[in-house]
């Protein structure tokens, strides 16, 4: 039941991301989503807690809930942007896309019936919905920061899938993925900073006009 609740909250944060234009609140929402997902392995293995799960949960909450949010907040402060202006797909169409993606995810969850492998029937739909939302955020938003957020949401979707079948994956793999994501966000944060320094904006669609 608690796992269900966590997953539903994750799902709602995705819907919120699709419909919100403020970068600050989006970063906060992604941080909340990351923390919720960090808690997910804890709740799944509540009766057989071991140091492996604990490390993973603490590491995830620390990185996704605090470190990434700090890095991204620093980036938007430096670049001096606070909202997404004129995204390629408006917020109403993003939400409509979200509704369709939600239904498709649940449908996929039904045909991809992993049965005893997953802890909750919601794991697969929620992870697919995260992946779909993340991909959509990457292609539909103009600001580089929003695209970084899209990447994080996409990764969170994949993480949901991994956390749901954590018995199968080793700690090393999970920590490795976390490290990867950390480096990716660090690099992206620096890139966003450099772009804003060089071009006075972080609109990715204007980058095609660059000449060397």
């Amino acid at each position: 039941m608690k796992v269900q609740l966590l997953l539903i909250l994750v799902l709602l944060t995705n819907l919120k991301l699709l419909g919100s234009s403020r970068l600050g609140s989006s970063i906060r929402t992604v941080a909340i989503q990351g923390s919720l997902l960090g808690l997910l392995p804890l709740f799944i293995e509540l009766d057989s807690l071991n140091w492996r799960v604990m490390t993973l949960a603490i590491g995830t909450v620390f990185l996704k809930g605090f470190v990434f949010a700090n890095l991204l907040f620093r980036a938007i402060n430096v670049a001096n942007v606070n909202r997404e202006v004129q995204p390629f797909a408006g917020y109403v169409s993003s939400l409509l896309y979200g509704i369709v993606a939600l239904i498709v995810s649940f449908w996929l969850g039904q045909i991809l019936n992993l049965g005893q492998l997953s802890y909750s029937p919601l794991i697969i739909p929620v992870s697919f919905f995260g992946i779909f939302s993340g991909l959509f955020l990457i292609v539909s938003r103009r600001r580089a920061i929003s695209q970084v957020l899209g990447f994080l949401v996409l990764e969170n979707g994949v993480f949901t899938f991994g956390a749901g079948i954590i018995k199968m994956t080793s700690l090393l793999v999970e920590i490795g993925i976390l490290l990867d994501v950390f480096v990716a966000i660090l690099v992206m944060g620096i890139t966003v900073f450099r772009i804003s320094q060089e071009c006075d904006h972080i609109d990715t669609d204007k980058l095609i006009t660059l000449k060397d």
Partner: protein, 308 residues
């Protein structure tokens, strides 16, 4: 047996007709409390209605019979809607499979009549209000329909009375998340349909921001009293749909059930008052997004009942 049912339904209708305006009074008191004022008396909406009923009528020369009949017809339609909405433990007079759809369409008829009366005055200002009202309610309607369908799915029953009677604490254990989402959707629809704050401000008189209020500017005296009464009934109907979801408690004592249900109604009004005091009005361009968000919540709820 039949006599007791008849008695119960009579009580249901009378209670709705008499108690409805008090919800507006509660909202006003909560808002006043938040602003640090004492606020108007709890029964002020009744006083207002009686005061207006005593006044004379003024009709603009550009209006036709549509304007004159509009208020009465909408009153008649909203009372029809009241007949299918149960009053807590007291069943509705009419109840059949699928009356949830009838309710949505009766609300649509009320809206249609209000809008054509507004257009009948020939004022461009009221035309603007009508167009906004239609736009936003077109977005709120799917949310309402989907939320009612979600409730029907959770309880496996298709009429408002049987939904209210079937809902129980077990539903909250099995489908708690869905019910919470459905309640959220219904609350947003309540705010939108009753011209409440994040969507529309019932107190505003600034022409650029008005939606609902602007459509009834030309109504005066008894007509305006009827309009006020209709809006009270509308708020009552929406609260009466949410209250059984909030407190799905069935004891065998009908008085206890009724008081639990009434406290649910009061809580909903208090919640509306809190939202109005703590939130600012949304920008007009953000409202469609907000209402679509409500639809998304309803769909999520339905999909969740489907899986679990």
């Amino acid at each position: 047996m039949t006599i007791s049912i008849l008695l119960k339904t009579t009580i249901s209708i009378l209670a709705s007709l008499i108690l409805a305006p008090i919800l507006l009074g509660i909202i006003n008191r909560v808002k006043a409390g938040f602003a640090g004022r004492v606020g108007q008396p709890l029964l002020q909406p009744y006083y207002d209605i009686f005061k207006l009923l005593k006044k004379g009528l003024v009709y603009s020369t550009t209006t036709s019979w549509i304007f004159r009949w509009g208020t009465l017809v909408s009153l008649a339609v909203i009372v029809c809607a009241l007949l299918i909405v149960p009053c807590g433990p007291f069943p509705a007079l009419i109840s059949f499979k699928g009356d949830i759809f009838l309710l949505v369409y009766l609300m649509g008829v009320v809206r249609f009549i209000t809008v054509i009366s507004a257009l009948d005055t020939g004022s461009s200002f009221e035309g603007m209000g009508s167009s906004r009202e239609m736009f936003f309610s077109a977005l709120a309607e799917p949310a309402l329909l989907l939320a009612l369908m979600g409730l029907a799915k959770v309880t496996d029953s298709f009429s408002l009375t049987s939904i209210a009677n079937t809902l129980s604490a077990t539903n909250w254990f099995n489908n708690g998340a869905s019910l919470a989402l459905l309640m959220g959707t219904l609350f947003i629809v309540l705010l939108s349909e009753n011209a409440r704050i994040p969507i529309d401000d019932p107190n505003t008189h600034l022409e650029l921001t008005m939606i609902h209020e602007v459509m009834v500017l030309d109504h005066s005296g008894p007509d305006f009293a009827v309009i006020n009464y209709i809006s009270a009934l509308k708020l009552w109907i929406f609260s009466a749909i949410i209250a059984p979801v909030l407190f799905p408690i069935h004891t065998n004592n009908i008085i206890a059930d009724f008081s639990v249900w009434l406290s649910g109604m009061v809580l909903i009004s208090i919640a509306v008052g809190i939202v109005e005091s703590s939130m600012a009005r949304l920008r007009l361009t953000v409202i469609p997004q907000f209402l679509l968000g409500a639809t998304a919540l309803a769909i999520t709820a339905i999909v969740l009942t489907w899986i679990g």
